[in-house]
């Protein structure tokens, strides 16, 4: 039987400190979901990078524009949602930072790292016109799933 997902959602101010806070929150949620330390690091790093993207490129540092951060613990995966108030973007247009012409650039590696550390990365337009970034981390091997469910039961 499919169980109801557990959800956590917070609203963050567009400040650098919010990036640290979101990263810590992600680490905590990943731990509660049963992910081991290495997977907690990877997920919290992915969330950090998406938050940096929302802060710098989405909301452009505008303190009046909040960032939504949500976590959904499903049967087989943890899904993180980051919502900004920017103009949205097409992830297919983000260049691969490993290309020779990109190697000496000082930015542009964040979403690439998210792809490395998460199982899935999607971007969709938000109702308010901004971008909603969805990060998925599957419960596999010794991480997540049973450990978390056993803790619940």
């Amino acid at each position: 039987m499919t169980e109801q997902p557990r959800r956590v959602r917070v609203t963050l101010e567009s400040r650098i400190e919010s990036v640290d806070l979101g990263e810590e929150l992600a680490r905590g949620v990943a731990g509660a979901a049963g992910f081991d330390e290495d997977e907690q690091y990877k997920l919290s790093m992915a969330v950090r990078e998406v938050l940096i993207n929302a802060l710098e490129h989405g909301n452009r540092g505008d303190a009046n524009k909040p960032i939504g951060l949500g976590f959904s613990l499903l049967d087989d995966r943890l899904v993180v949602e980051v919502q900004d108030q920017g103009k949205g973007f097409d992830i297919a247009q983000v260049p691969d930072p490993r290309q020779d012409e990109c190697l000496l650039k000082t930015s542009g590696r964040g979403l690439f790292l998210v792809r490395c550390f998460a199982d899935d990365l999607r971007v969709k337009p938000s109702n308010n016109g901004g971008a909603t970034v969805l990060i998925t981390k599957l419960y596999t091997n010794n991480s997540g799933s049973k450990t978390a469910k056993e803790k619940q039961s």
Partner: protein, 114 residues
Amino acid sequence: MSLKINKRDNGEVTVVDLSGRLTLGDASAQLRQALRELLDGGRKKIVLNLGQVGYIDSSGLGELVSSFTTVKNSGGQLKLVNLTDKVNDLLTVTKLYTVFEIHSDESAAVQSFR
């Protein structure tokens, strides 16, 4: 934890010990300022000791690249030493290991300038 920076001279080479997190915000600015001071003082052979840096985000990686370019454009050289496993992994997946000269031993890094 914020970034701590300590500079040591070894002959013509300056070893910059970094400790903490190299991330978006103050840490990146601190590193930029430290390297600016070295270059202004004529110290152009620089080794960044990352042995106590356990966490770098994409902004920190960008700051390392910026540091490399700044030092190179000033006629100097910047090399890395003592990478932790996590930092080594990041430089590997981003292919930045092809940009930097990386040493596992500080004395070897210092000697490499001679």
